[in-house]
């Protein structure tokens, strides 16, 4: 996959679409040359972020969530954004402990930001499986 080529997926903020994002994420990661373990790590983490982003929207909301994939030479960055989304307050509840532990362990970089277009930025480096050992 060429560098500097961004792929953007935009979905309604609903739980039924998270599996579609996982599918697309695995397709992008596969094309970036990620091995199966790294693809799985990325799917897991993108899902965790979407879960919280979806919870931040009310049921009736017509807003969209955007998932931007930015392949680079030896890494893949995924930016999750949406109208009014704030990464800094996304994982504030007690029950976010599991999600945060997963993100911190499996990703090479996790940036939570007040910028709604990139509220969460995940970076995964090719060939580096997240380990807990």
């Amino acid at each position: 996959m060429s560098t500097n080529s961004r792929i953007v997926l935009s979905i309604p903020p609903k739980a039924e679409y998270v599996s579609l994002v996982r599918l697309t994420a695995s397709g992008v990661a596969n094309q970036c040359g990620f091995d199966l373990d790294c693809i799985e790590d990325l799917k897991v983490c993108v899902s965790e972020v979407l879960n919280k982003a979806i919870a931040a929207f009310s049921e009736e909301e017509t807003a969209a969530l955007s998932i931007t994939f930015e392949p680079a030479v030896d890494s893949l960055a995924v930016l999750i954004g949406g109208n009014g989304l704030n990464g800094e307050t996304l994982f504030a509840s007690e029950t976010d402990a599991f999600a945060l532990a997963i993100l911190d362990t499996l990703m090479d970089e996790v940036v939570l930001s007040g910028d709604e277009t990139a509220a969460v930025r995940l970076v995964k480096t090719t060939g580096k499986t997240g380990t807990d050992d």
Partner: protein
């Protein structure tokens, strides 16, 4: 989507539950309902067979923890069998490998 099947042991000493498929945010409400139905009052050990469980997120892990608490209140335990490596990794990351009784990796 996920599947859940319950086989109560003849001797009623344990509930054998198998879960398969993907447990994510969308599946979570239904999974919680089905799992809690399956463990009932929590008055026996629970053996969770995960051979065909391909994916679970933190929401699903939280539901498992809730079920464990219920079973523990009756001094029973939850045993987890046949976890895939990718999911076993999530149990370790979240410390849940210490809360549940995980069958050794093969």
């Amino acid at each position: 989507m996920f599947e859940l099947a319950l086989e109560k042991d003849e001797d009623k000493l344990s509930s054998q539950i198998s879960v398969a498929g993907e447990i994510d945010l969308f599946a979570a409400p239904d999974f919680k309902k089905r799992l809690y139905e399956a463990i009932g009052e929590g008055d026996s050990d629970v053996v969770l067979n995960c051979t065909d469980l391909t994916y679970i997120d933190s929401t699903g892990l939280g539901i498992l923890l809730g079920a464990l608490k219920r079973v523990r209140q009756n001094n029973h335990n939850v045993y987890i069998k046949n976890l895939k490596d990718s999911i076993r990794k999530l149990f370790r990351i979240t410390g849940l490998d210490k809360a549940f009784i995980l069958e050794e990796a093969q």
